[in-house]
Amino acid sequence: MAAPSVSKLETPENTATPSPQLGRSAINEIHTSEQSGVPLNTPWTFYLDKSTPGTSAAEYAACLRKLYTVSTVQGFWSVYNNIPTVNKLGSRYSYHLMRHERRPVWEDPYNCNGGNWRMKCHKWDTQKVWQELLLAAIGEHLSDFLAEGDEISGISVSMRERDDIVTIWNTKSQLSEKSDILVKVKELVPDVNFTAAFYKAFQTHQAFEGHSK
C-alpha cells in the first residue's frame, strides 16, 4: 500500500485497504482501560448471586449474575472499587471471584471433582477477610498452599443472618487433605477468629446434581 499523506492517515474513511490503522483504532475503542494495566496471572470473573434455599442447579445458575471479567490489577480494582462492599450486601447475597470465566456452580466441569473450604466469620471481620482473600487469590499466593496438581478455582463470600461465610474453591477434592490453605488463611488474617472451618467436596453435598468423573 502506498504511503498515504498524514491527513489521510487521520481520517478513517480514506483507508484504501482493510487497513491496520482502522483496526487499531477500533480495537482501542472496544477494549477498555483493562488493556493498559498490569496483567494478572489469569483473568478472574466477578459474580453476584442471591441464594435461595432449595434451588436446583439450573435455578441457581439462572440467578447468577456475571459482573465482569478482569485481566489486569487495575481492572480488578475498577470493579472492586465500584461495587458495594460486602457489608452493604443484603443477607443471602454472595460475591464470587472465579478464575477465568468459570461459574461458581458445583456441577460445572471445572468444579465437579473439586470442593471448597468453608469458613464462618463474624460480620465485623467479613470485609477484611474477603479483601485479603481477593488479594491473595489474584496475587496467586493461595496456590502455593495447595497440593501439586490442585488449583484454586475461585473464592466466594456469602452474607448470612449471623456469621458470614467465605469459601475457597479448589478443583481436586482428593488433594484437599494435602493442602495447607487454612494455615495460609490464618496467616493472611491472624486477628480473625473463624467460628468454623472445614472442607467439603461438592459431590458429597446432597444437592449435587452432576456425575462423578
Binding site: 477498555t32 482501560s33 488493556q35 493498559s36 494495566g37 498490569v38 496483567p39 494478572l40 496471572n41 453476584l48 448471586d49 442471591k50 441464594s51 435461595t52 434455599p53 432449595g54 434451588t55 436446583s56 442447579a57 435455578e59 441457581y60 440467578c63 449474575r65 459482573l67 465482569y68 478482569v70 490489577v73 487495575q74 481492572g75 480488578f76 480494582w77 475498577s78 472499587n81 465500584n82 461495587i83 458495594p84 443484603g90 447475597y93 454472595s94 456452580v105 458445583w106 468453608r118 469458613m119 464462618k120 488479594l135 489474584i138 496475587g139 496467586e140 499466593h141 496456590s143 466466594s156 456469602s158 448470612r160 461465610i165 469459601t167 487454612l182 468454623a196 472445614f198 446432597q206 444437592a207
Partner: protein
C-alpha cells in the same frame, strides 16, 4: 555522559522496564519501582505471576481503578443506583424445597468443626 559505554550499561538500562515477563508488554514504567519490594516474580522456569499485597494495594488508587469498566454489567443496586434485583427464575418459588441451598448450606452440621 561518557562516550565509552561500558558493556553493563546497556543491558541494565533495559532490564528494569522488562522485568521478568518479557512476553508481556505495556507494563507502565511507574509500576516498575515499588519502594522496598519486588512487584512480582515468576516461578523458577514457570510463567506464574505473583503480586505482592503492597503492590496490589498501590494500584487501588490508580486512575484506571477509580471508575468502573465502561461495559460492566448493569445491576441496579450493585453496579448502578437502585434496588438490588437479582433475577429469579420466572419469579417462581423453588420447586424443590427439600434440597439444601447451593451457595452456602450454613445449617450444615459440618460447621461444628473448629479451625
Amino acid at each position: 555522559m561518557s562516550e565509552k559505554l561500558s558493556p553493563q550499561n546497556l543491558p541494565r538500562g533495559r532490564e528494569i522496564p522488562n522485568r521478568r515477563i518479557a512476553d508481556i508488554s505495556n507494563l507502565p514504567t511507574d509500576y516498575s519501582t515499588t519502594p522496598g519490594g519486588s512487584i512480582f516474580s515468576t516461578t523458577p522456569g514457570g510463567s506464574r505471576i505473583f503480586y505482592e499485597r503492597n503492590f496490589l494495594m498501590q494500584c487501588r488508587s490508580s486512575p484506571l481503578a477509580k471508575t468502573p469498566p465502561a461495559n460492566m454489567a448493569n445491576i441496579p443496586g450493585v453496579t448502578s443506583p437502585g434496588e438490588v434485583d437479582v433475577p429469579k427464575e420466572n419469579g417462581e418459588p423453588s420447586k424443590k424445597p427439600s434440597k439444601p441451598e447451593k451457595a452456602g448450606p450454613e445449617e450444615n452440621p459440618q460447621f461444628e468443626m473448629d479451625i
